[in-house]
């Protein structure tokens, strides 16, 4: 297992302490994106991307010139009205950027489809409440089966690309939630397996220096516990343990099953859609050139 990318705040003191690491820098304001990228690139670390959870709709953001060449993971609460967003579409396409929208808002499911259809990569996140599973199924089907060129919508694209039955497919990495790929640091350099755990003060190391190589991580009790927690669902005869969609869900929504019924049908349908997509792709098709 290679050393995970470190998701850290834009703290010069911390970044200077790190050497030869790959960093995803988190900033609070879109205006800080370019500066954060420069900070990492001027250190002896490598920039994975800059993560920004903006509080304004995508349509209201100034897509600055200095974002050119910076990989950006841009979370927004909503896309905003299309009439306000339309002038930004060419710029969004040009940037190395992925838009993150919470899947529990119906208008966000529409926005994900619009952005994708216009060539803007995006990702649905599941951190909030229950999505409209029927609408989400429709979006997932569009993302994976639409024959017209469109930008990827994660995590569907990631899952479809990586699903190899009978093995389970991890897709938390699409939103920095897979500790095998991303560890989360605070300004002091404390390390957590997830952002939520970092915010709750649950850390696995008091200093990032304690996780110096893969051996420190692979056998770390917290990471082992994380894997075991999933297996316990089977011991508890949890509904997830009997769900055909387990191989792509991995019990990610197990804690919210009461508030999010419908996930089983969604993930089961996804398995079918992935099969259809593979059939579709196995047939030789002329690639169609993207035309915005």
């Amino acid at each position: 297992m290679p050393l995970p990318t470190l998701v850290c705040p834009d703290a010069p003191g911390l970044i200077e302490r790190l050497h030869g690491r790959t960093l995803a820098v988190r900033v609070d304001e879109p205006e800080a994106i370019a500066g954060a990228a420069r900070g990492v690139r001027s250190s002896d670390n490598e920039l994975c991307c800059v993560i920004c959870d903006a509080l304004r709709p995508l349509a209201d953001l100034d897509l600055r010139d200095d974002w050119d060449g910076v990989p950006i993971a841009l979370g927004v609460p909503e896309a905003g009205r299309f009439r306000d967003l339309a002038p930004s579409i060419p710029r969004l396409r040009d940037l190395d950027l992925r838009v993150y929208l919470a899947a529990d808002r119906p208008d966000n499911l529409v926005a994900l489809r619009l952005l994708s259809s216009l060539g803007v990569p995006c990702c649905a996140t599941f951190a909030g409440g229950a999505p409209d599973w029927a609408a989400l199924t429709d979006l997932m089907t569009y993302a994976l089966l639409a024959s017209v060129p469109h930008a990827p919508i994660d995590p569907f694209e990631h899952i479809a690309d990586h699903y190899e039955p009978p093995f389970a497919t991890e897709w938390g990495a699409t939103c920095f939630a897979d500790p095998r790929c991303y560890l989360h640091l605070d300004e002091e350099g404390r390390v957590a397996l997830a952002r939520s755990e970092l915010l709750a003060g649950v850390v696995i190391a008091e200093d990032v220096a304690d996780i110096a190589d893969e051996a420190d991580l692979v056998s770390h009790p917290a990471l082992v516990e994380r894997a075991v927690r999933r297996l316990r669902l089977f011991e508890q005869d949890h509904p997830c343990a009997r769900c055909p969609g387990w191989r792509v869900c991995l019990g990610t929504l197990a804690d919210s099953l009461d508030t999010a019924p419908g996930c089983a049908a969604f993930f089961t349908e996804m398995l079918d859609v992935i099969d259809q997509r593979r059939d579709q792709r196995s047939r030789d098709r002329e690639p169609v050139k993207w035309r915005p």
Binding site: R81, R83, A86, V110, L114, S117, Y142, R291, P292
Partner: protein, 349 residues
């Protein structure tokens, strides 16, 4: 080109309306969803088609009309909006603000205008239409539907001059709706209509306005002299066609055109490309013409019809005529007649 009905809501109640069965005059109506808008844009891309006409009802009554317009443009489509000009004030303001997004010929309005004296306007119609034409005049092609032989065109030349509308007048005739009552022009009235249209020659020439025909006009109803004048004025031969309009309803159902909306209605999801749709409806129209070549007896032997320079009038006339006949047509046509609710034409399958 395909037509997408953004909404089936309309504020007018034109006496000649042949879209009536598809519209919901009162209430909120049904509007195209964003998901389906994306599907239509994808469908057109797959079809290699870069033009789309937006219809209603009144398309500007779609609550997100401006947003949809900008989306379709962002998908590279050239857009024609067929409107009565009766858009909400807020929509017109937003449209005005976003006009710079449409360069060149990427957006055009075709505004169907009624003679205020012969066709009583809807409530607030004159003021609304005036506001629309004032704001968008140069983007607007005027259109007029002929539904009575004593029609008048003077008001259109006034509007063209007053608002700087494009100097091309789109002329349609009111068509019958098979199986439903509607005010329309009968084949016996076409010659009188052609004569009246050509009586406006001085105005067409003085204002340098070119007439263009929507579907259903038969060529033979114009004299050679009238056809010659039309060709000289327009710089090209007039077309006398009846092609599939391909109307896509807000629920993604699909039909040949408004008058034949109950004739072999299908779903867009049944087809892969627009060419498939066209082939499907062309075949049905060919079946109709195999039974009845045209709206006149003379169509049987007409060389212009055989060579394709005239369609022999509208297919909706043929279908309307068959309704009153014994059930002796092709099974496909009998089934279609059953679909439009003709008594005694039970489906055989």
């Amino acid at each position: 080109m395909a037509n997408l009905l953004l909404t089936n809501r309309c504020l007018r109640a034109c006496p000649y309306c042949f879209a009536g069965r598809e519209l919901e005059p009162g209430g909120r109506g049904t509007s195209v969803s964003w998901e389906d808008a994306v599907y239509v844009a994808d469908f057109l891309f797959r079809s290699g088609e870069d033009r789309l006409a937006l219809l209603g009802g009144e398309p500007m009554l779609h609550p997100e009309f401006v947003d949809l317009l900008l989306y379709f443009r962002a998908r590279g489509l050239h857009l024609t909006v067929f409107t009565s000009g009766m858009g909400p004030a807020a929509t017109l303001r937003a449209l005005e603000a976003h006009l710079p997004a449409f360069d060149g010929d990427t957006l055009q309005f075709v505004c169907n205008l009624n003679d205020p004296e012969q066709t009583p306007p809807a409530r607030g119609e004159p003021a609304r239409v005036h506001r629309f034409l004032t704001a968008f005049g140069p983007w607007v092609m005027p259109a007029f539907t002929i539904y009575r032989p004593d029609f008048r065109l003077e008001f259109l030349f006034d509007l063209i001059g007053q608002h700087g509308l494009t100097r091309h007048l789109r002329l349609g005739v009111a068509h019958p709706v098979p199986g439903a009552p509607s005010r329309h022009v009968s084949p016996a009235q076409y010659r009188e209509i052609a004569g009246r249209l050509c009586s406006y020659r001085p105005l067409f020439e003085r204002f340098r306005v070119k007439p263009g025909f929507d579907c259903g006009f038969p060529m033979c109803q114009f004299t050679d002299a009238q056809l010659g004048w039309l060709q000289r004025l327009c710089g090209e031969a007039a077309r006398f066609e009846c092609g599939a309009a391909i109307d896509i309803a807000p629920d993604m159902s699909l039909y040949h055109c408004f008058p034949l909306s109950r004739f072999q209605r299908r779903s867009l999801y049944e087809f892969d490309t627009l060419a498939d749709v066209n082939r499907f409806y062309d075949r049905l129209r060919d079946d109709l013409h195999a039974e009845l070549p045209g709206i006149f007896e003379e169509c049987d032997d007409c060389i212009q019809r055989r060579e394709g320079s005239c369609a022999g009038g509208g297919a909706c006339h043929l279908m309307s005529r068959m309704i009153g006949e014994a059930s002796v047509r092709l099974p496909e046509i009998d089934r279609a007649l059953a679909d439009v609710g003709v008594p005694g034409r039970a489906r055989t399958d």
